[in-house]
Symmetry: C2
Subunit: 446 residues, 2 copies
């Protein structure tokens, strides 16, 4: 730890890596390389840059269905876990967070794959736990309908419990490796999972020795009531979309407050709101970058996306009029991203946005906090959130990649380091160490 | 192609990478490093060496359950697909063959993961298709019993058909990437899979553009009747355990003869029998290496393994007596590895082996062809098999790793190259190119 870092709260930074960037029109920008969206070297370079900037981890999202708007937007993401396994071989310190769904997977596979990633990376694996959305996904797995929201979370609880039992089944001293006696393992130190739930069961034990972190860092990003309950029980790292510092403070207090019921303390869960920075040498230049991307948004695309999220066909609504509030479903009827539904509706209502304005407002960040300014202004914002109890750090979502990452690393990171609120070197090797989760036990089965 | 290679049949070489080696006692040898069995760097070095030796591919097996004999033997293999994804990032030419089961997976996941591996590796992915064995595996996936042999293969056919439809759903010209017009993809060139089978269904389309090979090389290793039928329909690369050149010739002729019924020609499927070489500067030195490893075999382990394979408890049989043939099940009743059951029983009967002799005989290679000799003798054997129509190459299974690979690469490979029957440089970039499968269409859905 440098002198400047002494005693100051430290920011955690995660890079949310997404093809040409998080702005939906990013791929159309002259600085984008949409033809490289499935090229590993493109991601390798960004991952190595994030590691040079000493970020905690790289996060990759994952969907199990084709986005219908692939016509209008670069979607091809390589499968998240496959990418993270490949990136593990060409990075040394940075954490690797891959998304996998508890609705359409089996605990044994997930446990085995993440344990392998944790071995390969030397303790840098993290699992972003999602429950997936929509019937289109269900039909890719032989099912007519997606599981209901509450049943999905019920299954998710069972799934993680089973996986944790698998990961912790091998004691640290299970391996004997006694070549002379011909004894490789002490079978009494390898326990079966023997998990029997309502939704799934798994016998175990896992066929891999305990990995460096034992349990990969558990990550979660659902902010609905079910999502928050789940996070309070299991999550060690939470990504969240917060449109303002006020909403972020409320979310932070709510979620950290829920930990005690599970016998957990506030340091055992880090909250990283999404941050979409437009970086300019002047504020005007930054705003101009934002305007330029917003103008590239294809309106059909925006309207389709908004219709899907609100589960209401908006194609007959005037773009410059308000949302048809009377036709929207009640939030509890929404199957899918309940928290984001609520966020968009509240945003439109409170700021009296037209449909067009709401589309533009959310084009860049899907409701995540967007800031356009100089490196100093952006660092000011980040520091304010950190010190106000709105965040333990940020999930960095550059609107345009790779240039938005290059700018952040070369301009904002040094500013954060100068202020002593962000590391200049990794002090440990595992992701748990980066996140300050060591010394605390990993999640335990009940 | 070098002058020596002109017009000669070429060997294909696959490295079957397995922790400390294929001999069950390998981990006890003084040259073994069992403490590195879950260390990625250990495998990375071997993979890079196999690539320097211009091998076609690296193969990694995969099991979804803990081996009960973990007490006696190093088992921890990192999950095959995760490993291959990591190796993709640190190799450039060599093919990457990962095992995944059609019984305990979903086609959408498998298609998405292998397409991603094919993108990341630039067209080097291959899928070893297995149907898994045993109720212990079933119980790791919430099932009481494993699917019956014929139902497993029925599901396997459906699974591969569905996966091929997913892989071939994106036409080569589906991507427009027209930044000016804001059009990313031509949706009319992306087809759904719409697969509805008896065992599974999947809607599709896949959410990834066509990968370099479109379909990963399809690999198969079951030699039962069901397995051969399956291979004739789908496989492009077959691994097989053949104890002698005679059995290999018969297998080769049988399997290649089955291709015509599927409209396939003999070049569209390459057959690689397993080869377990003990390499010495003299034949005596090689035999000594073999003897030394056989002596390290733990007899409890050998008896347990044999009992499991023959599905008969042998613990009350005298080690120096014959197999209790009258108590063995009929081959068609065997749930699991029918072909290997038959192979072991035939071997014992024909060579009048005692149980002890059968254990020692199979300790090193589980029924695969074993040869102990000088590099010239081993190259002679390989050339004889190639020219006699017993093999298109070999699945190299060094009894002891990494030293057995080091010896093979430094001593046997140059000898094969001097004879003009093995490449000195890769002529292509993809695994299909290495295997001479280009110009022929990849497997098509019916």
């Amino acid at each position: 730890m440098s002198a400047a870092e002494q005693g100051r709260r430290q920011l955690h930074l995660n890079l949310f890596m997404l093809s040409t960037g998080h702005h939906e029109a990013s791929w159309r920008h002259r600085d984008a390389s949409p033809q490289l969206a499935a090229d590993f070297r493109y991601y390798k370079r960004m991952a190595q840059l994030a590691e040079q900037a000493k970020m905690d981890s790289i996060f990759i999202a994952e969907k199990y269905r084709l986005n219908k708007m692939t016509k209008y937007r670069v979607i091809p993401q390589l499968e998240a876990f496959t990418m993270q396994a490949a990136l593990a071989a060409v990075t040394e310190k940075i954490g690797l967070t891959a998304t996998a769904s508890t609705t359409y997977n089996e605990p044994y596979h997930i446990a085995r794959k993440f344990a392998s990633l944790d071995h390969i990376s030397g303790g840098r694996a993290a699992w972003n736990i999602v429950t997936s959305t929509g019937d289109a996904t269900a039909r890719n797995f032989g099912k007519e309908r997606h599981l209901d929201h509450s049943l999905r979370y019920e299954r998710a609880h069972e799934f993680v419990e089973a996986a944790v039992r698998l990961w912790t089944g091998w004691a640290e001293d299970a391996l004997l490796i006694d070549q002379e006696a011909g004894l490789y393992a002490d079978m009494s130190r390898i326990k079966a999972a023997d998990y029997e739930g309502k939704h799934l069961s798994v016998a175990g034990p896992l066929n891999l020795p305990r990995s460096p972190q034992a349990v990969p860092v558990l990550v979660q990003a659902g902010s609905s009531e079910d999502g928050r309950s789940f996070a309070a029980r299991w999550a060690e790292l939470v990504f969240t979309a917060q449109p303002s510092i006020e909403s972020a403070i409320a979310f932070y207090a709510d979620l950290k407050g829920r930990l005690k019921a599970w016998g957990r303390n506030k340091e055992q869960l880090k909250i990283l709101p999404g941050l979409i920075p437009f970086i300019g040498d002047s504020e005007a230049e930054a705003k101009e970058k934002e305007r330029e991307l917003n103008e590239l948004s294809v309106s059909d695309y925006g309207l389709y996306n908004l219709s899907a999220l609100l589960q209401t066909d908006l194609s007959d609504c005037p773009l410059d009029g308000p949302l048809p509030y009377e036709r929207l479903p009640a939030p509890e009827q929404v199957q899918g991203q309940q928290a984001r539904f609520q966020l968009y509706v509240n945003l439109a209502r409170e700021e009296k946005l037209s449909i067009r304005e709401l589309i533009i407002r959310t084009a860049g960040g899907r409701g995540h906090f967007t800031v356009a300014g100089t490196p100093i202004q952006i660092a000011d914002t980040m520091q304010r959130w950190l010190e106000a109890g709105a965040a333990d750090g940020f999930n960095l979502m550059p609107p345009l990649l790779p240039s938005g990452l290059d700018d952040f690393v070369s301009k904002v990171v040094p500013e954060l380091q100068n202020r002593g609120i962000y590391r200049t070197e990794y002090s440990g090797n595992t992701l748990r160490e980066h996140l300050g989760l060591t010394g605390m036990s990993a999640p335990q089965p009940v």
